[in-house]
């Protein structure tokens, strides 16, 4: 089936099998930041945005993004670098395999939540598993990032 969609601001017209999952479609097109960590929609590694909504690309048919706009980490490199520096300075990317999905969801959170508390940050990100870091370093990075980019809305103790 032929679909037309926008991925990271570029238009793609592709003929694909209808049961192809979005994750495989994106990886096939070379958006290799999108990772697969499970078969059951539990890990969050495959997180991308469809029309700016954060979703699991492993659980969506590629054909269903017809006429829609998909964003992967490749499409928001400036923000990835900006936040990525905070992660790196905590050492909170260990193997890094969970990083793209995690960063996509953090950046979605930043757009959706206003001055989130620590609890609401954890709640928003609970679907992003990481087996390496123990999450604490990621949280430190997020807090510093939000503080730096929002002018200190989030207090260290919150």
């Amino acid at each position: 089936m032929q679909i037309k969609c926008t991925i990271n601001n570029r238009i793609f017209v592709e003929d694909i099998q209808v049961d192809m999952l979005l994750i495989d479609f994106l990886r096939h097109l070379g958006f290799l930041s999108v990772k697969r960590g499970c078969d059951t929609a539990n890990c969050g590694l495959c997180t991308v945005w469809i029309d700016n909504k954060t979703v699991l690309s492993c659980s969506i048919l590629a054909v269903s993004v017809n006429e829609k706009h998909v964003t992967t980490l490749e499409g928001i490199q400036d923000e990835a670098i900006e936040f990525g520096k905070f992660i790196a300075s905590e050492g909170a990317e260990q193997c890094g395999y969970c990083s793209p999905g995690f960063i996509m969801n953090v950046l979605a959170m930043k757009r959706e939540l206003v001055n989130p508390t620590e609890d609401s940050i954890k709640h928003y990100l609970s679907g992003n598993l990481c087996r390496c870091t123990g999450y604490m370093g990621q949280l430190r990075a997020i807090k510093k990032f939000l503080n730096a980019t929002r002018g200190g809305c989030l207090s260290e103790s919150s």
Partner: protein, 757 residues
């Protein structure tokens, strides 16, 4: 120190956080054949026939292999130095299948759909055999799991395969039985730890191709590239020269990738078809067709006098290695030797073990490697002993603790050259607020807050066996290339080793280039496991750098025409009071005409394996009506010697503690009555999410290890050991029940409370 002991960013950080294609599946060519494996639905069966005609006709199918098509030379998939202690009990494909998930047929085709279709069309007739699923029924069962004639052992491991005994052994010092008789108090209990899955986020992934020399190139997510080369060559029955292994970035390992899991299947397909092939395990396979932590039942007898002086420690471990013996003979030893040693003051020790085969998935390596299981048992028993003695569990420990300078009876007679465990305990006690919080405080009708403690040790490499070599080269404009065979699996060892080189060579990090592992290029390294990289490979880096400096001085002395003894190197230049040459100039001169391109090699292995230590303190809130545990705070205080990179070390500790919390509270590989794994996905096998862990706090109380690089020991494994016993202790302190079987579920707690009423 300028670079060592600094929180430097990881070299690969920015490419990882921007999602660059650096992992195996990202770099595999599009035209790879897709390889999948048909797996046994039975726990134990003999294959009578395999009908593949229909499957072969599926368009796009290129290769279907059964046990009749593969070499019949037994080997082990355990990534250990040759001669491996693990028995040679595997074939690539065997006439017998020994667990649900054992490979039966290898199928390769041009796309996933074709391969899936072919898999569905294959018919296998089995003679289903009765399996052994319970490890306590294994020894001397009438069912024998390995009855093959070509079963092979490299050396004596106490094996008696006809009795399903993979390995056994014993150790003794003093007379435990006599001592126990005269003890004022004795604890005698059995503790049960379960199989766990390493659950690294990147599943097993490999692709292979033949190069222009007809050699099979294996690009794979592994901790042990050099062992993969040897094992694959042996399994395929080809010379090692025909195999090249390359390790790209890895999405975590934790021991899972210390075993050959996915490599052989695409390699044999490439050998047979001449075409590139790839095999990416899905998560189900990663759970049910790899290796888990060894399930263990550990019986502890522990005796002390009235004053709390521990007199006798006796440990018996029964370990379940599953269908194959990978790491079976070696993991079990740590359950004794890396636990009792903490209480080196005791006068008698005994440690016996049996490792048995069952028809469950093979066990293997997982962070902690037996010490984790032993720590749960012995540390729990110590906490129970404190209760019997009516003594504070911290005081009991400190009274019996090993000390720097001790000869460690139960640790191969090694001398303890660095230890700051006592201060780790003191610090943790203060941070958790032990004096105010021990044993518990009631918060409400249904909530109790309590604290718990455990201590632990691990090793730093395998003494006398692990070896690492390193090469450092001076390049033409004064920067260096560091070639290592140690595998960075996210742990940051490329960065840490570069830090050490930069420290030795007095330069900036950006003057050091580190390459990934390629067995054609990199110097030999046994691999990244057994907490060996910082300690063993690190030492090689130091040696190689020092050699290179010597060589540079020799060359400079020739150019400057001065005595080399007068020269010094400060990172920028080589000089004496009169003359000087910059590194840059020297480097350039050395690659022109009559130059001498400088490369220094060094190898290192260690006769000792100095233990890192850790004290873990937990505060929990326990719901006495549902049994639910909330972790409030976990304090990990670690002595890993000098922290080469404190930032990365901290993340190691946090990550290890969280894995330990998962193991303590809910991680458990369980099997149905027919031997099928019940939790083979992240839906059924839960690892901690960020909502499950409370707050983790890390402190370092470093000692200085004289035999390690810059005083460093190891950190990778010791960090996973304390949560299980510390949480079990907190549960006891809260509600007075001892949970001696992992995981410590709410159900066990509540039902024990009810039963003890």
């Amino acid at each position: 120190m300028k670079v060592v002991n600094k929180g430097i960013d990881k070299l690969d950080a920015m490419s990882l956080v921007t999602g660059k294609p650096v992992y195996t599946d990202d770099i595999a060519p599009e035209n790879c054949l897709i390889v999948k494996v048909l797996r046994s639905p039975h726990a134990y069966a003999k294959i009578l026939s395999i009908i593949i005609d229909k499957a072969l006709k599926v368009p796009g199918i290129e290769c279907i292999l059964t046990y009749q098509d593969v070499p019949q030379k037994r080997f082990t998939m355990a990534g250990q130095s040759y001669p491996e202690p693990s028995p040679y009990d595997r074939l690539i494909l065997d006439e017998y299948v020994r667990y649900v998930g054992d490979p039966v047929v290898i199928v390769a085709g041009v796309n996933v759909k074709a391969v899936n279709k072919a898999l569905k069309l294959i018919k296998v007739n089995y003679e289903v055999l009765k399996p052994i699923l319970n490890m306590e029924e294994a020894i001397d069962n009438s069912i024998v799991i390995h009855s093959e004639d070509d079963y092979h052992l490299n050396f004596d491991i106490g094996n008696d395969v006809k009795r399903n005994l993979c390995a056994s052994g014993s150790f003794k010092s003093g007379n435990v039985d006599e001592e126990l008789k005269s003890c004022h108090v004795v604890v005698d209990e059995q503790y049960h730890t379960k199989a766990n899955n390493q659950a690294m986020m990147e599943t097993f992934s490999t692709y292979t191709y033949l190069d222009y020399n007809g050699r099979v190139n294996i690009i794979t997510s592994t901790q042990i590239p050099f062992h993969v080369r040897r094992i694959v060559a042996k399994a395929l029955d080809i010379p090692k020269t025909k195999v090249r292994v390359i390790k790209p970035r890895i999405g975590g390992g934790f021991g899972a990738k210390q075993t050959v899991v996915s490599e052989i299947f695409p390699a044999i397909v490439t050998m047979k078809t001449g075409k590139p092939a790839k095999m990416i395990f899905n998560r189900f396979e990663t759970f049910c067709a790899s290796t888990s932590r060894h399930e263990m039942k550990i019986r502890i007898k522990l005796g002390a006098d009235k004053e709390g002086n521990i007199k006798a420690i006796s440990i018996y471990t029964l370990s379940n290695t599953g269908a194959y013996g990978e790491h079976g003979p070696t993991t079990v030893g740590l359950s004794g030797h890396k636990t009792m040693t903490l209480y080196n003051k005791a006068s008698s020790f005994k440690f016996d073990y049996d490792v048995v085969y069952t028809n469950t998935m093979s066990a293997g390596a997982f962070r902690g490697y037996g010490a984790t299981q032993g720590a749960f048992a012995l540390e729990s028993a110590i906490n129970e002993l404190a209760v019997k003695l009516n003594m504070d569990p911290i005081e009991l420990r400190q009274k019996n603790l090993l000390e720097e300078g001790d000869i460690m009876t139960t640790y191969y007679g090694e001398t303890l050259t660095s230890c700051n465990l006592d201060n780790c305990i003191n610090k943790g006690k203060e941070l958790v607020g032990w004096n105010e919080k021990y044993p518990y405080r009631r918060i409400s009708d249904s909530k109790v807050r309590s604290v718990g403690v455990a201590i632990t040790m691990q090793g730093s490499g395998i003494s006398g066996i692990d070896m690492a070599s390193v090469q450092i080269r001076l390049n033409d404009d004064g920067y260096y290339t560091l070639l290592i065979g140690a595998t960075d699996m996210g742990t940051g060892c490329d960065t840490i080793l570069a830090q050490m080189a930069a420290e030795c060579l007095e330069c900036n990090m950006d003057q050091i280039v580190v390459n990934g592992v390629d067995t054609d290029q990199s110097p030999y390294d046994s691999g990244s496991y057994a907490s060996s990289t910082t300690y063993i490979t690190g030492m090689s880096v130091v040696k190689a750098c020092n050699k290179l400096i010597e060589q540079m001085i020799v060359e400079a002395s020739k150019i400057l025409i001065v005595q080399k003894e007068t020269l010094e190197f400060d990172g920028q230049k080589i000089y004496n009071s009169e003359k000087s040459i910059t590194l840059d100039k020297l480097a350039q001169k050395l690659v022109v005409g009559d130059g001498n391109y400088l490369m220094a090699n060094a190898s290192h292995s260690s006769l000792s394996s100095p233990p890192p230590f850790m004290a873990g303190f937990v505060e929990i809130e326990l719901d006495t009506q549902t049994g639910k545990i909330d972790i409030i705070d976990f304090f990990g205080i670690v002595d890993c010697g000098t922290t080469i990179n404190p930032k990365l070390a901290k993340i190691q500790v946090e990550g290890g503690i969280v894995q330990g919390i998962g193991m303590a509270l809910y991680e458990e590989v369980s099997y149905s009555t027919t031997g099928k794994m019940m939790n083979n996905s992240f839906m059924q096998y839960k690892i901690p999410s960020r909502l499950d862990i409370g707050n983790i706090h890390v402190n370092f109380e470093s000692s200085y290890e004289p035999t390690g690089p810059f005083g460093a020991k190891s950190i990778g494994e010791v960090v996973i050991n304390t949560p299980c016993p510390a949480i079990a202790h907190a549960v006891y302190n809260a509600v007075g029940v001892n949970i001696r079987s992992l995981p410590i579920t709410s159900e066990k707690i509540l039902l024990s409370i009810i039963n003890s009423r």
